[in-house]
Amino acid sequence: MYVGAVFFPLLGACICGFFGRWLGDKLAQWVTVVCMALAALCGISAFIQVGFNHAPATVDIVTWLDVGGLQLSWALRYDTLAAMMVGMVTLISTMIHLYSVGYMSHDETQPRFFAYLSLFTFMMLMLVTADNLLQLFFGWEGVGLASYLLIGYWYERESANRAAMKAFIVNRVGDLFFMLGMALTFWTFGTIEFNGIFQGVEAARQSTFAGMPVLELIALFFFLGAMGKSAQIGLHTWLPDAMEGPTPVSALIHAATMVTAGVFLMARMSPLVEYAPNVLGFVTVIGATTALFAASVGMVQNDIKRVIAYSTCSQLGYMFFAVGVGAYQAAVFHLFTHAFFKALLFLGAGSVIHAMSDEQDIRKMGGIWKKIPVTYALFWIGSLALAGVPYFAGYYSKDMILEAAFAGHGWTAKYAFICGILAAFMTAFYSWRLIIMTFHGTPRADHHTMEHVHESPAVMLIPLLVLAVGALFTGAYFYDQFVGHHWAEFWNGSIVNAPHNHIMHDAHEVPEWVPLAPTVVGLAGIALAYALYMFMPKLPGRIAAAVPGLYRFLLNKWYFDELYDRIFVRPARSLARKLWQVGDVKIIDGMPNGAAALTVHASGRVVRLQSGRVANYAFAMIIGLVLFVSIFVFGVGR
């Protein structure tokens, strides 16, 4: 069961990837879907076994490395945190495989797509079940590879290739710090296996490295690594571009699973991170800023997928500031519910795009809700959950995060709370802006497209329905286990709060207006969106015209891409060219080539001495003779 959950997807990927050409499209697809379904069965039963029957397990597979005290094995660690992730990932991945059968049915190289998708799932499962940092890094890079391959899936599109490369390289910036974090961890604890690290934390609290507390430094490195993968502000630029990939990919990788790996990492390392208060403050600020920044950008984007992408980015910010205030459980809870409703939204968007003949610009949509009623209804459910409207999944988790932020200590927690409330307002606003512009109003697509608008086939709708069930009920159903009364038994030590950290308790004792606040601002956001886009559709344009600077600033995503292009990409290019043309060709090669040229030149001159005229030789001889004689007579004589 434990092994099956992880390795069935790999089996599917191998069969489909290597033999897909002979199996044919249909068979190859269903092989991966069946493998994923088996994995989901195993995964969910593992979750029940570990999470509810409290039976954590570790499955050793084989030794990986053993170099001078650095010993590592491939092993699957099933504690509640891992099992929860396994259950969630396998279930959502199965749904998305199924959905892709319909969505990708017109594609030319379907086995390739499904092989990548299954490969991704395998890597993600390796990541979450890792027993040591290196295996986690294996999964970490593996999902990066799969993401690269899937973003660039339509490799004939130049923009897709560029986005894929960008994703990989920006992620690598984070990975660099991850790598350094592993190095420092090893030299601090003498191991990079989780059990060993966690046991050594107490002893390492006093040690310093280069004048800094070593735990702070390690936590900082891992957080910088997590920032890359989870698209936090500064390293977020790849995520919106990643929408070049097929929509199921965006749903699976860039919403539900991979991007949350950073949050998972922080939760996994909670026994260590707990003792790095300064880094936690930094995490809070970064998370809160990301939540606000991404929500603000999301309000003005016009591409249906980009809006949702920024929304993802913003929700990840929420999770991080939850981590920052010490409420890892709340972060993971939001991760869990978010996976359902965000996947639902993305797949819903895919369904819309499918219906609109691959149109993604919401300015060219509108007036289609009657033609695709199921998608429309599901989109509502997803948005309600996202906006945190009561009794939908997002309500429970987002409220918990904001309560934790309110209960947290220090100015960073206050800052996070304010950002979180503002972002909650914006979230509701852009969600309904999206709904209204996509489904309501006068049709803005051309006649031809409008005729083709149709509801998606059942194979696409069934996964949507399953996810909708998740978006409706996971919050209410799991609240008690994840963050409510039973959290301590449920997590069973897989997430650790230090003795001085009472946030999980304090968060439930906040003033009464705090839990209400997000709902109120959420409803206000919805109302504003209705007012602006439904009833006064001229007004948004006028507002944008009134503050053109602000509008352009948001539309251009705070100019991050331009800034990075200026300070990193272009200088690197020109430096590369200079180092090559000047450094290598002129200077380094210039020396030996110059020496060679000099030799040729000099020998050319020397050759001229041999003129062949006896008189010249005789003359030279006489001069030489005179010189020697004079040296002999005057020089030696003295």
């Binding site: 290196l134 004939e156 690598r172 350094l180 430096l575």
Partner: protein, 503 residues
């Protein structure tokens, strides 16, 4: 006498030479000669490889001593002798050499059409020299093999190379020879001091630190060129670009490793004080190599040149690892050498596949190859990932261990080395994107054929090894575990001595 019961290492070394002798006597029509020469060379190298597998199975991994030793006194009055043997450090390099030669011969099967007989002879002689170099336990023999490698390589580039082959061949020759002459002086001094040319006996020397410095510099001159380290790396891109595909494979796969091997065999055990003293310099040069050449690689427009520069960057990681002087760093460096031998060799083969079909190495000439050559695209992707050290491929364990090791020596060095992770991903993916992805822009590319069965066979062992080394590196690391441990202990003991004496 040794574990195999017969002089295995000598057989491995000189069997290719016998094969070369046989080829020399082939007579007949040109086509027949060519075909016979190919088959003879292939079989010779395959038998050699098969024999070398005995090393894999019978090598005793628990000891750091030399094994399979053969020793014959030759000129006892001068202390000269014939002395062969392998330890954990060299044994896998022998296997790497014997593996890559048949791969190269297969890769040249159709690519080389002129003077096939001479080409095959050159390759077999090259194998003798390479294997001999890694097995030699006598400085004179070591020097002969070390230099001897140059001759067939010079011919391979100079005769079967590209347009500027003569320039490249001379550059290769002069650069390496200049360094080697200083090494010869150093070896003569060692021989004079120890009264013997046997390497294990020379190890017992205790050299004065001031002498060590000069010896270190002399060795450095030779090994730095071979590795190659910045700033004496410029011969490599030229040599790679002009060499035929198989020549590049051997050049990247084995020849570059001779420098790193030299450091491990001579500089570290013999010159501990000087090594410690020069380590910061080497670190600086290594970090420059990683960052500088990675950036230069980013600007290349020639596929082979790009991979050649990436080799310099990867070898920067190797030298960094060697001079960390700790267990992780050294193991990582050796592993990185092996994996680089496989992966960059394979990358040159990938370039060769396209070159054979289109006869151009220019990146801009290609694009959209994935569409018509899907299997090739997959193979190329695997090796690209190996090159950028994705966990699960051969490139990763070495780089990881070196960075862990370097962190202990100096965190900034580790950071510099890790920068290569980002830049490496940059230039390799940029290459891959321009060659394999995007839309096919040129009509003639549409007619390309995917990998032929022969090419599959050529790639198969490399694919297997790339994955094996990535997923289960222990089976390789265990070979040099004991030797590296002994090297580290030896170094620490040597460093402790002067301190005691000072008290």
């Amino acid at each position: 006498m040794n574990a195999a019961g017969f002089p295995l290492l000598s057989l491995l070394t000189f069997l290719p030479l016998v094969g070369a002798g046989i080829i020399l006597f082939i007579r007949g029509e040109e086509a027949v000669v060519a075909s016979n020469a190919r088959w003879t060379a292939l079989w010779t190298s395959l038998i050699t490889f098969g024999l070398s597998l005995i090393l894999w199975f019978q090598f005793d991994k628990t000891t750091a001593d030399f094994q399979f030793v053969e020793q014959i006194s030759w000129m006892p009055e001068f202390g000269l002798g014939y002395h062969m043997g392998v330890d954990g450090i060299s044994v896998l390099f022998v296997l790497l050499s014997t593996l890559l030669v048949p791969v190269c011969i297969l890769a040249s099967w159709e690519a080389v059409q002129s003077r096939v007989r001479e080409y095959m002879i050159a390759f077999l002689v090259l194998e003798t020299m390479m294997v001999g170099m890694f097995c030699a336990l006598d400085v004179v023999m070591f020097y002969i093999f070390f230099e001897g490698v140059l001759i067939p390589m010079f011919l391979i580039i100079g005769i079967w190379g590209g347009a500027r082959r003569v320039y490249a061949a001379y550059k290769l020759f002069l650069y390496t020879l200049l360094g080697s002459l200083l090494m010869l002086l150093a070896m003569l001094l060692l021989w004079y001091e120890a009264g013997t040319s046997s390497i294990p006996e020379i190890f017992n020397l205790q050299l004065d630190p001031s002498v060590q410095v000069w010896l270190f510099l002399a060795f450095l001159a030779s090994f730095a060129v071979k590795v190659p380290m910045w700033p004496v790396h410029t011969w490599l891109p030229d040599a790679h670009v002009e060499a035929p595909t198989a020549g590049s494979v051997i050049l990247a796969g084995v020849l570059l490793k001779m420098g790193g091997y030299g450091f491990l065999r001579f500089s570290l055990p013999l010159l501990p004080q000087a090594t410690e003293w020069f380590a910061p310099l080497i670190f600086a040069l290594s970090v420059i190599a990683v960052v500088y050449t990675s950036l230069v690689a980013l600007a290349q427009e020639d596929m082979k040149k790009l991979i050649a520069y990436s080799s310099v960057a990867h070898m920067g990681i190797v030298t960094m690892g060697i001079f960390t002087l700790n267990h992780q760093g050294l193991s990582g460096a050796i592993f990185q050498m092996l994996s680089h031998g496989i992966v960059s060799g394979a990358l040159f083969l990938c370039v060769g596949v396209l070159y054979d079909r289109v006869h151009s190495r220019e990146i801009a000439r290609y694009g959209g190859v994935a569409k018509i050559m899907p299997s090739y695209a997959m193979v190329f992707m695997l090796f690209t990932m190996g090159s950028i050290a994705l966990p699960g491929t051969a490139g990763f364990p070495g780089e990881f261990l070196v960075i862990v090791g370097a962190w202990q020596a100096n965190p900034w060095v580790a950071f510099g080395g890790a920068l290569g992770m980002i830049l490496g991903a940059g230039y390799m993916l940029y290459l891959y994107r321009r060659v394999v992805f995007s839309r096919i822009s040129r009509e003639d590319l549409k007619a390309l054929l995917d990998l032929s069965p022969r090419e599959y066979v050529t790639f198969a062992p490399l694919i297997l090894l790339t994955l094996w080394m990535g997923i289960y590196p222990s089976s390789f690391l265990s070979f040099f575990e004991a030797s590296v441990a002994a090297l580290v202990t030896r170094h620490e003991a040597a460093m402790a001595l002067p301190r005691l004496a000072g008290m």
